[in-house]
Amino acid sequence: MMQQFAEWLSQTSLSVLIQTHNAWVIPTIQSIHIVAISVVLASVLMIDLRVLGWAGHDQTLRETANRFGPWLSRALLVLLVTGVLMVVGEPARELLSFSFCLKMFLVGVGTLIAAIFQITLKSNEHHWEQTLVKRRIVKSLAILTLLIWVSVVILGRLIAYDYVWGSWSLKPTA
């Protein structure tokens, strides 16, 4: 089914347009995608370091979240747009790749964690500052979140090398 969808997508006019200019369009979109993921990674790093108590001592949790939260969500939006363009431009390369599917799952988990953090911090700042941030489980979650986004970057690059997953890759073998 995914293969049929990829085939259909590759025949849409936008896809054909990207394919005709792929020599410069694809690297350009990829470069913007990398710049945006840098913003995500650095923003998550700074929030997580603050939760862990390794940085931002002069800032409250709220101040840190207010500084990096909007950059995080805007960068995610840029990633979504450039990501969709790459899928449309090269449907089979992305949709049939195991790296891509696992990456999308982790992007979902990472975004969900970030959203829950922002929402609960907004509604219950005191509880976050006084209790939650000191809990071991919350600190572990901060490290996990960072690892999730690092894995997203790794999987993003591995889309170009989907054979590393052997039979897990949906790409046709011949």
């Binding site: 790093l45 090269e90 011949a174």
Partner: protein, 191 residues
């Protein structure tokens, strides 16, 4: 030893051969290179935006740098190391590649930019670290840093498209059998 001989000896080193012989090591190194460079650019962006007075303006410049620069430097060393590992697998091709050469020149310029900043606004940091933005020299350094690093990222991406036949998006019609059974005449290029 001339440069051609040097590049050839890098390529034939056991480290380079080992990376080339594996189907998995080069993709892994390349992925870790991207992790490193996103950390370098992302953390530097925070510092540059602070210099320009665009973000974190209520925090003293020095508390930002003391939080961040250690991560930037560690990531830079990480990225340089993984970059060297990729370089040696196909040294002569990278060495003659236009985008690779441009990237190295830009990296050198980025280094000089940091040096000039340290000798100008960096020297008077105690006078302006609580101001919303840095003096002109500091703001100029921030703009140059952003332009240089974005171009470095773009150049890096273009190296991938111009040095190896197995990189995206050329793998659309790839035949897995070709990948798993290396051709008899080993070309020596990274998979």
């Amino acid at each position: 030893m001339d440069i051609t001989g040097f590049l050839a000896s890098l390529e034939s080193s056991s480290l380079a051969t080992g990376i080339r012989d594996s189907l998995y090591v080069f993709p892994l190194i390349e992925s870790l290179h991207v992790v490193g460079l996103t950390m370098v650019f992302g953390t530097m962006l925070i510092v540059d935006l602070r210099l320009l007075g665009i973000a974190s303006i209520r925090r003293p410049f020095t508390s930002i740098t003391s939080d961040i620069m250690k991560w930037t430097w560690a990531s830079f060393i990480w990225t340089a190391a993984t970059g060297v590992l990729m370089f040696i697998t196909n040294a002569s091709v990278y060495y003659h590649n236009f985008f690779f050469r441009t990237k190295i020149v830009l990296l050198a310029l980025a280094g000089i930019n940091v040096l000039i900043f340290e000798l100008t606004s960096g020297r008077t940091v105690h006078r302006w670290h609580k101001d919303a933005a840095a003096p002109l020299a500091g703001r100029t350094a921030a703009i140059l840093s952003l332009l240089l690093w974005i171009t470095i990222i773009v150049m890096g991406r273009w190296i991938g498209f111009t040095t190896s036949q197995s990189k995206a998006p050329l793998d659309r019609d790839i035949n897995l059998d070709d990948l798993f059974t290396p051709p008899a005449n080993e070309s020596g290029s990274p998979k």
